[in-house]
Every structure is written in structure tokens, then in C-alpha cells.
Symmetry: C2
Subunit: 208 residues, 2 copies
Amino acid sequence: MQSRTPASRTGRPRSAAADTAILAATREALVELGWSKLTLSDVATRAGVAKTTLYRRWAGKNELVVDAVAELFDELELPDLGSLAADIEGVVLQFAAILARPEARSGLMAVVAESTRDDALRERIRASIVDRQMRLVLQGRARAQHRGELPPEPDPEQAARTVDLIFDMVAGAVVHRTLVSGKPADEEWVHSFIRILLLGLVGAARTP
Amino acid sequence: MQSRTPASRTGRPRSAAADTAILAATREALVELGWSKLTLSDVATRAGVAKTTLYRRWAGKNELVVDAVAELFDELELPDLGSLAADIEGVVLQFAAILARPEARSGLMAVVAESTRDDALRERIRASIVDRQMRLVLQGRARAQHRGELPPEPDPEQAARTVDLIFDMVAGAVVHRTLVSGKPADEEWVHSFIRILLLGLVGAARTP
DNA sequence: GGCATTACGCTACGACTCGTAGCGAAAGCT
DNA sequence: AGCTTTCGCTACGAGTCGTAGCGTAATGCC
């Protein structure tokens, strides 16, 4: 999480209960106050710990919220529904459900905005949130190629570019729909979206 | 801009020069400080106006930054390069160039994040930033249908849904590529992206 | 058991930002 | 002229930040 593996063996260990309480309190405060009005003092009070304890574990608001929001994405996993289209629709609906939660809406975009000026924060987001989503794309693509729904890509460099592109298209569209357009990414929308995406992918694979 | 049409006819008029100076100073501060460290006092000093003048015109940081960033999107327009694919690639590259600028990167995501808890702010963003982009999608679609590159859509409700979907796919992918993945939306990427998108669109139009 | 080490809760602190109020002067209009 | 609104300036209370210092609590090692 926020601490590297303890090289220190001696001394009083950090309370694991405090960690979970703080992260839960952070999400609760995100729901009630939003990003800008969230203060670390308030989170500490909610979690029942001292403010100094918070600062001993996290460098600041950014890092704390990244960890608090990252836990929301833990439940994300690729279902096996028999076809690539159904699998993708399933995982995209999960993703949309997470983004519909207020603690994700207010927190995620805020830390992404901050990460444009903070490379360490960008890396933290990538490692704890984005990579988890990216793995689903890789997994789904491999399964589809095994099923024969997508042709295999011999050039690994080209394959990497394609996976990146698919990832940006999927995550970007859902995020934009939910947070910018402010409309729900419901089943009907996801179905239309995935239909266009897959038609485009198989079309592109047919005519290189 | 930020003030409704002046119902007040008498008295000293507001300085238009101050407006442009303030918005320019805001963008400058966004570049140097980023969203979180930007203060209204600092902007006022840079613009050479008093802090109170700022508060007379804008309700707060959110509204000010929305107006400052919105001006960046004024230059967006749909080129006429002969084909739908070329037109879209052209406008998407313009869009990507704007998002590559640091004042847009740090400002845009931050106000979007704030807008998740502030409906008035969301509406302000929609009116001054998003609508301008949406009009390009409508324009490009109409032109493509006139050229015969896309079939006409008889059902207006279905057409509206499709335009919304295209908009979220295009804007979402570019924003995600630029701000989350942190990689440039260069010509090669845009070309691959638009190719898949258009293949999907014509494929979906063929098999309804 | 005693000891070293680290985490914890608590209080207090200077530095900073926020948004507003009050003032006199300036710039328009009729 | 006189009226009205904006402007620059100063000052202010309220709130937040991040840190320091202290005594206490919980563990590992001898």
C-alpha cells in the first residue's frame, strides 16, 4: 500500500485496523464533502485517529485519495460469458458501476488532474488503478484470440500499440460518458458502444 | 462571458482589458503552479488588478478556470480535407494539441472533477467547452452523410444517441490517452484510432 | 523481566489562504 | 455639474496546512 515492506523489525507495528479505518473514512468524506472540501483533519476525526498518524503514513491528500479510490477497483474482474462481446460488456458495466459511485467520481478525476504536474503521483495511479484495468484488456484479448474471435497479432510491438489503443478507447469512453457528459453508461449504451468497437477491431484486423 | 447582459446602463463600465488580463494570468498561473497551488491572490497580482476585482466578476476558482480554459478551445474548427476520415483526423489532432498544453491539462480535469458535486459548474462547462466540441461532431456527421460516406439516419432520437456515443468515444479516447495514459495523441495514434472508429460506424450502420 | 525502538494520541504553533468589508478615487452617463 | 458603478488598497476573522514536542503504548531482542 503506502509503506514499503518494513525493513524495520523492531518497535511497535503500525495498526492495520487504522489503515482500513482511514481509507474508509476517506471515501466517506469524499461522498459527503467532495475533493476540494475534504481535509485531512476531518478524515482523521472520522477514522478515530490523530492527524499526525495520517501524516506518518501518507505524504498528503493526493496519495491518500489514490489509495482510497484504488480499493474500489479491486472487485473488477473479467467474466467468462462465452463471447468476447459479452465478456467486454460485462466488465465495462462493472467499470461503469464503480464510476457511478460518488466517492469514485469526485476522487478519481481530481487525482488525475493533480497527476499532470506530479510524476510520482502519476506512477502511483498507474500502478494501483490503471494497471489493474489494463490487465483485463490483455486477458480479454488473449481469450478472444484463443476463441478465434480476433486474429493473432504476430508483431509484439504492434500488439502493444493495439492494446494501448483499445484501453484508451474503452476506459476513455466510459469515463467521458459518466463524468463529462454526465449520463449513465447503462446496458443499452454499453451494448451500442461495444458493437461499434468490435466491428471496428475485426474490420481493422481484416484489412491491415 | 461571466456576466449576464448588463442590465445596468449607468456607472463606470467594467474594464474589458482587465478581463483578458485576468484570464491570461490564470492560464499563466496554471502552467507555473498547477490547479491546487493556484491562488486568486496570485492571479490578481499577475494580472495587475486588485483581488477584490476578481471576486466581483467570478464566484471562485472553479468558474474562473473554466472561462480561462474555455478560451483555449475557441480555435477548434472542422477542416474540409475531402473525406470524413481526413476531416476527423484533422480536428482530433487540433483537440490533442490543445490538451497537450499544460494549462489545459491541469485545469480541465480539475474543473471536471469539481463539477461532479456542482451542477451549476457542470452546466457552465457544458455550455462553454463541451458544446463547442459537440457541434463539430454534428457538423462532420452531416457533411459525411451529404458525401454519402455515412448513411442518413431517419430516426432523430436514434441519431441523437449515435452522436452522443461518437462524441464520448472521440473525446474520451483522446482525453484518456493524453491525461491518464500520459502518451501523446500523435498522427499515428489518431490515424489508427479513427480507422477503427469509422470501420465500426459503417459496419454498425450496415447491420442495424 | 528489562531495554531499545517505533507507533500513537494529544496539544500547540507559525504560515498561509480564503472571502469580505470599508474607504477614497476614478470613469463613465445624462 | 451630479449620479452611479467600478477600481485599488488595506485590514480582518476564520479556517487549513504541515510540523514539533511530549508522554504513553506496543512490539522484538537479550
